[in-house]
Amino acid sequence: MELLIGFAILACIYIILASSLNILIGYTGIFSMAQAAVFGVGAYAAALLETKLTWGFIPSLIGAIVIAGVISAIMAFPSLGVSGDYFIVASFGLQMLIHTLFMNLDGLTNGPAGVQRIPRPEFFGYQLNSDIEYLILTILLTAIVLWFLVGISKTGFGRVLRAIKEDETVVQSLGKSAKRSKITVTVLSGCVAAVAGSIYANYVTYISPASFTIHESIFIAQLIILGGLGSWRGATIGTIILLGLPEVLKFLPISETYAAPLRQVFFGLLIIGFMILRPQGIFGTNMAKKIKIKDSNITAELGEGEKA
């Protein structure tokens, strides 16, 4: 039972992360490989507000959302000007830059040792000490986040995002600032990832840079790719299936030393299989196809238009 509750909490955290990346990659076509870093910013912000400033859970959560939003906005600037492979590399760079900041801003983040003794949330003097209580809070927050994201994606804003994914130039030609929408969605995604970070920090009560590495970013991206880009079902049900499947290995008589990497191998094979047979993922419509990697070769300006 305990195992199941623990799994459920983690699943919720990853559902939020996957959703936060879904609106970036799946909706807007911004292929960011820095989501673990943003997740980390949220976790650190919440943890530090709670331990250093002794803020409560809700104020810290809001603080984390704001801080992650601001940092996402800053992150958006250097990378949005470039496209395709360059953007992927730039986002890898951002991921690694922020990771080194977690490692090195000793005074703030306590370096590789991380932040310890993060309290479990307390409401009106009642502390959520048991995991089941915490799970209820987590599910509640996850539901709010999903409701918010799905709602946003159905508005005109979501429409603009999907249009940006298909053809930014057209969006611009119809009088919408594609750049502003891209920055807005990056900030939004960062805010959502911060919710996951905050839940995570308060659940494990101890965070360190090791949880927010480039490998974690790759993992989150893989989750959403397998689940199905641009699909909320993919981001939720897909994430549960994909997180759950390797757990089966736990019941096999294999020691954890081997089970952990084998789970990853299984995951990698799944990715490869899907990319060959069904690149749109489990629930995605054929959207994976639609994210174009533009040729980094800059075609001569002379050529534009004049030659059909």
Binding site: I152, T155, R159, E166, V171, G175, K290, E306, K307, A308
Partner: protein
């Protein structure tokens, strides 16, 4: 007069794509840009819409100097363009394609959609009504829920026209709107374009097909090496031997 170019120049590296180009577009008319390949027609489009900035010269739109106005803001002022290669958003429905082009204050702002849901609903339903009318006008209303990618090529071209109309722009810039159309669709298209000028629209069109252009335009601007060599009534321009020679042997 709705649009005026005053001595516009644009250089790419070693090539003078547009040089000291001046012409005007009168309200409610169809004006065609013609000229041999490489004359700078598409570049001029890009300069008018703001996708490119001129090296020198100025552009006036409805009496206002827009030379330094950003691309998407020029749309708000009342001009919109199409592209040579259609560029329908193929993964979105016809309705979505067109509603995307409607000016929006509330629905496209994530913040306002949260705090002013009523306003958003009002705006959306107003826009949807407008889009229905436009789709009716171009003859796509029965296709409104189809993915744009599933339309035929000619239908996609009509969709693009619908998209331009939804922007409420008074000046429509059409980049080779007739290319790739079969004769039947072409007739329909020509009629639509003619009809638009009766609905207070002004049209600037780039088209290679001289005979087509002669038929639909009120005025031709003949470009050569990025310069407006001549402007006038289509048959006048067409009769000009000198221009013809240039056209055939740039």
């Amino acid at each position: 007069m709705i649009l005026q170019l005053n001595g516009i120049s644009k250089r790419f590296g070693g090539l003078q794509a547009v040089s000291n180009c001046s012409f005007t577009v009168e309200k409610g008319k169809v004006v065609a840009l013609i000229g041999p390949n490489g004359a700078g027609k598409t570049t001029i489009f890009n300069l008018i819409t703001g996708a490119l900035k001129p090296d020198s010269g100025s552009i006036y739109f409805k009496g206002k100097d827009i030379t330094n106005v950003q691309e998407h803001k020029r749309v708000h002022l009342g001009m919109a363009r199409s592209f040579q290669d259609v560029r329908a958003l193929t993964e979105m429905t016809v309705l979505e394609n067109v509603i995307l082009a409607c000016p929006s204050r509330y629905a496209e702002s994530p913040l306002l959609s949260l705090v002013r849901p009523n306003q958003v609903r009002k705006e959306e339903s107003h826009n949807i009504k407008k889009v229905f009318e436009i789709l009716e006008y171009v003859g796509l209303s029965d296709k409104k829920d189809k993915l744009a990618g599933d339309l035929s090529y000619a239908e996609q071209k009509l969709l693009i026209l619908a998209r331009l109309l939804a922007t409420d722009a008074e000046l429509l810039l059409l980049d080779e709107p007739a290319s790739g159309l079969d004769p039947g669709s072409l007739r329909k298209f020509v009629e639509l374009i003619r009809d638009l000028t009766n609905n207070n629209k002004t049209i600037l069109i780039v088209e290679h097909n001289v005979s087509l252009v002669s038929e639909i335009s009120d005025k031709m601007v003949f470009l050569h090496h990025g310069e407006a060599l001549a402007e006038g009534k289509p048959d006048e321009v067409a009769k000009n031997e000198e221009l013809r020679d240039i056209y055939f042997g740039a």
